[in-house]
Symmetry: D2
């Protein structure tokens, strides 16, 4: 997938399907989070380490465009990239594919906050640098 | 809520919270669907009746902007309106409030399809007329 | 429902159905929790008040027997009673009905713990007394 | 794990945690299903192939005993075995471990049914034989 250097895969769980026999629209947001967590896991402890240091990442916005359905046991590849880190804020973009066919596009916007006061704090510099290096 | 003639309420389930002790971002899409189903339930059998007639509604796009968290047992009021019905396509807009404080804004885009062939079909005219009347 | 003095109702959400077009087996555990929360809500602040006082309720065991399916938009009545409170431990029993037809039976076992140390603590006496009074 | 010849692993998703910062009790039923699906995937097309042949597997009973919590990003190993196949009915047993520490025990009971009429039908003989061979 052009423009993406990271991807991961999920297998559609039976519990994730609905009475239309396709993965429910809300499940895509769970998958995007799985992809973010695995994306960050490559950097120094990843998201659990961030949380252990008292940094939480809030989700500010989510957008998904559904192009084609995913069905039980389908293996969905999620391409993800992190861009536009500005202070506390950052943004992820995604492309979901089944085989080589795109089935969804998405983006999510986030902010780092102090886990106690929930006030915005800059994403830790080493993480910014590691992500920037990984994406360029 | 100005501009909305319909609203419904959900109580945040414990299972819907996450380790940040707030309702998980994916749960909002479930709530929006609950609101759509109750919105349509006022019209001639609602969504189950549509499905019984062989009409499915697909979700094409979802967007949520999260403004403030919702916590366990919070009662969230969901304002919803249906607009921009064009042939098979329609769109819902939402505002979510806790007390009188907005906690999220959202919209979703949909299309009616034939349940067998999954080809786009116009929303049944009586439903279009009933919705148009209800919204104006 | 004989032997039950409390009941509540849930409407099957579309997101709760699966590709067999019935409510997924895992969703019943969410509904049982909804019933427990509403059961306790009648007593002095309920479960949120317990949590605010530093008491958490852990789930130790769950059992569900599925008798008949529940489908989208079905209104499921959940009968619940709390019995066998012994120190930190307590147990809930449930019967789920659709119309007057039983669709599931269930029980869950729990323990009260101190929210900090997660050590077992007795259920607060006023709550024990209120529940005992309500059940007899 | 003694007595189990099959296991698979799930990583606790952030969406699967609750406000106690542990995986919610209902999520275990989703994991058990993931384990069953992967268990059956080793046999001639697995569960999707069964469904394609018009055989559905119903869940009749579920039981989980929770011994210790699982937290975000924990890798939970699920040991599963299929036993007691009698006509249409079969049963799975599970042990869940974190590292080498058991965190839950579970069993589920199922029946094969004809997907159209939902009447019980024997589990297809080749599958019974393959499972019996795998388990002994």
């Amino acid at each position: 997938m052009e423009g993406f250097r990271f991807s991961t895969e999920v297998s559609v769980r039976f519990a994730e399907t609905d009475a239309q026999a396709v993965a429910h629209n809300s499940v895509y947001l769970v998958w995007l989070e799985v992809a973010r967590v695995e994306y960050l896991a490559r950097f120094d402890g990843g998201y659990p380490a961030l949380r252990a240091r008292g940094v939480e990442a809030l989700t500010l916005e989510t957008y998904v465009r559904y192009l084609a359905p995913a069905r039980f046991a389908d293996r969905v590849r999620i391409y993800a990239r992190c861009g536009a880190i500005r202070g506390a804020r950052f943004r992820f973009e995604y492309s979901l594919e089944l085989g080589s066919r795109p089935i969804a596009e998405a983006w999510t916007a986030h902010a780092c906050v102090d886990a106690q006061a929930l006030r915005p704090i800059r994403m830790p510099r080493p993480l910014v640098e590691a992500i920037t290096k990984a994406e360029t």
